[in-house]
């Protein structure tokens, strides 16, 4: 880089420090013996022990993971259909409408989505008796609704980059439309489907506000437990939880990086 790049590098370094110092501190203090954040009183893993015996938190984590996995799977299907529609079906009637419906959830404040879906579920129950009680199903539906928009963005850009003549070539060589999709399109957009799935999974695992609105008694997700404990102030158990999450994510990214890096080509 040229000389004029130095101030730029300074900003870059500051930005990364800003992003990472809080996380690193969180990890550091998760091994602190003391409850207090500022006082270092010796290395300990006792908070991890407590975390693993926190029944309420573990139950909530399990519920959240089930919701996140279901949500991600359905959202990938719906998001891919929507991406197909936008990339493959040209200027159909209602295209602008679909684009709006797929962009709005990306920026819509959580409180609005949460409130409106809760009111929908209440109204539906009055009308048709479904959903009977709120919990896993209602939270999952709510999460799918905004996750599919994110999946659509990811898959759409991948589909758009694909050379359209690849599908024509397959058809020219005798593959029927469904065969073309299975043999050519799906394998080529598979990386996008995977990252879409992971994105939807994370979004769901991360959501506090919407889940709080649409969940009912007895269904407490992980963010809801974290939230109520965090409101009470600093809690070393949450530090330990954060460390575990960061470890899992880093591991996943490293594995993904290695397996993608090994593949020949792009």
């Amino acid at each position: 880089m040229k000389r004029r790049a130095w101030p730029l590098l300074g900003v870059l370094a500051f930005g990364y420090a800003f992003l990472y110092v809080p996380i690193l501190l969180l990890i550091f203090y998760s091994f602190n013996e003391s409850r207090l954040v500022t006082v270092w009183s010796g290395f300990s893993v006792k908070w991890y022990g407590e975390l693993l015996h926190n029944r309420q938190l573990l139950d909530a984590a399990w519920l959240s993971i089930r919701i996140a996995a279901t949500n991600a799977t359905v959202a990938v299907v719906l998001g891919t259909l929507a991406a197909n529609a936008l990339v493959r079906h040209g200027r159909f009637r209602g295209r602008t409408g679909l684009e709006l419906l797929l962009t709005a959830p990306l920026v819509m404040p959580d409180v609005i989505i949460g409130l409106s879906l809760l009111l929908l579920f209440v109204a539906l129950r009055e009308l048709i008796g479904w959903p009977d009680g709120r919990g896993f199903t209602t939270i999952t539906i709510a999460h799918i609704t905004f996750s599919m928009a994110y999946v659509a963005v990811v898959v759409r850009s991948r589909l758009g980059q694909m050379d359209a003549s690849l599908e024509e070539a397959a058809m020219d060589l005798g593959a029927r439309p469904l065969g073309v999709y299975r043999q050519i399109t799906l394998p080529l957009i598979a990386p996008a489907l995977l990252s879409g799935w992971l994105l939807a999974f994370t979004l769901s695992l991360d959501d506090l506000v919407i889940a709080s609105f649409v969940s009912g008694p007895g269904a407490t997700t992980l963010p809801m437990v974290v939230y109520s404990s965090v409101r009470m102030g600093v809690s070393p158990q949450i530090n330990a939880l954060a460390t575990l999450i960061v470890a899992v994510v880093t591991l996943a990214v490293v594995i993904a990086g290695i397996s993608l890096g090994r593949k020949p080509g792009r």
């Binding site: 024509e168 020219d172 080509g265």
Partner: protein, 378 residues
């Protein structure tokens, strides 16, 4: 005119009784207001190497896509080997296409790419392998069979694409700018290879190209297209020597055009008064009425150049050398005629350039014979 049997075999289009292998019957394709293909009829015969030639946007690619089945005609029918395929989807047509981008499947090896079409046809595994082997041998790419497309050079990709589209033994092979992505040297050697391959397999080839040289070297016949219409269909020689309109004349090679009016007819020749002055005497079998505006087209290499000034006369113009472009084998001279017109002509450089007498600003005269060009009415 008596046509020998042998000639009829080589040039089936000369035989009115020969059945066309591919028949395009009054096909039109519109996109909104745009007539991409405008009422095109064309007969292509078995074993031909046929080229659709034109500049970009002339509709040649759309015509090719109509043959492949990627587009449906707005009106008109398409027959292959006597069967109406107009409404047959691409996967069920006995036609294969080599794409301009080659469209090799990036997630499959060379072998898997070539095998793809046979798999769709549910050919038994053993036969499949045999035929893939045949194709890889034919195109001399056996050693590449385990590679993926991104590990191949441009020339290798082209061969794989060709092998893949030939593996199903199509009745018709469509090639979209088959040499467009290759560099110039490779393009020249591949041209001959493609022709040899086509002659050996006996498959009918239809190619699309914007490169006139390519079309001239490879094709049995060429269709020159413009604005969705076919301007002329003929052998390369006929298209070059006897263009039927200004557009074809100008599109293929360079040409000098003289506008004028028909003054007199003498047997199979006409006398034409040029707009820029001078009289032209040209051979023409057309019954031009006197006074019709016509254009005379003369190729630059069919003119003779003489040193020194001369009187203007019939088929003779005098002028000054304005520009010389030395191309090695030939030189192009631009001569400003006294009437103000610019005449281009090419001379083979028989002698080293340093010994040539002609130079800039020199007075010269240009001559040609009545059979050196054609008289065009459009």
């Amino acid at each position: 005119m008596a046509v020998s049997n042998e000639r009829r075999l080589l040039e089936p289009w000369q035989d009115p009784k020969a059945p066309p292998y591919l028949r395009i019957d009054r096909v039109t394709k519109t996109f909104g207001d745009l007539y991409a293909v405008d009422d095109v009829s064309l007969n292509i015969f078995k074993g031909e190497f046929f080229s659709l030639l034109g500049s970009s946007g002339c509709g040649k690619s759309t015509l090719l896509r109509l043959l492949a089945g990627f587009e449906y005609p707005t009106s008109g029918r398409i027959y292959i080997d006597g069967v109406d395929v107009t409404d047959v989807p691409p996967y069920a047509r006995p036609v294969n296409m080599m794409f301009q981008s080659y469209a090799l499947f990036p997630h499959m090896t060379v072998e898997q790419n070539v095998e793809f079409g046979l798999k769709q046809d549910r050919v038994a595994k053993k036969e499949r392998q045999e035929r893939v082997g045949e194709m890889l041998d034919l195109l001399k790419i056996m050693e590449l069979r385990k590679r993926r497309p991104d590990q191949l050079s441009g020339g290798q990709r082209q061969r794989v694409a060709l092998a893949r589209s030939l593996a199903r033994h199509p009745k018709l092979l469509l090639l979209d700018e088959p040499l467009g992505a290759l560099d110039k040297r490779l393009r020249e050697s591949t041209q001959f290879e493609l022709v040899n391959l086509q002659e050996r397999l006996g498959i009918t080839f239809v190619t699309v190209t914007h490169d006139q040289e390519e079309a001239m070297t490879m094709s049995t016949r060429i269709a020159v297209m413009d604005a969705g219409q076919i301007m002329q269909v003929d052998t390369p020689t006929a298209i070059y020597e006897f263009p039927n309109c200004r557009l074809t004349a100008e599109f293929i090679g360079s040409v000098n055009l003289f506008e004028g009016k028909v003054m007199e007819r003498e047997g199979d020749q006409v006398l034409i008064e040029a707009r820029h002055g001078g009289i032209l005497r040209m051979r023409s079998l057309h019954p031009h009425p006197l006074g019709t505006p016509v254009t005379v087209a003369i190729r630059p290499e069919k003119m003779r150049l003489s040193d020194g000034p001369a009187e203007d006369g019939v088929n003779r113009l005098s002028g000054v050398v304005e520009d010389i472009a030395y191309l090695g084998d030939v030189s192009i001279y631009r001569i400003r005629a006294n009437g103000g017109q610019l005449v281009e002509m090419t001379l083979t450089n028989i002698q080293p350039r340093t010994e040539q007498a002609l130079t800039w600003e020199q007075d010269v005269s240009v001559e040609w014979s009545p059979t050196s060009g054609v008289v065009l009415t459009e």
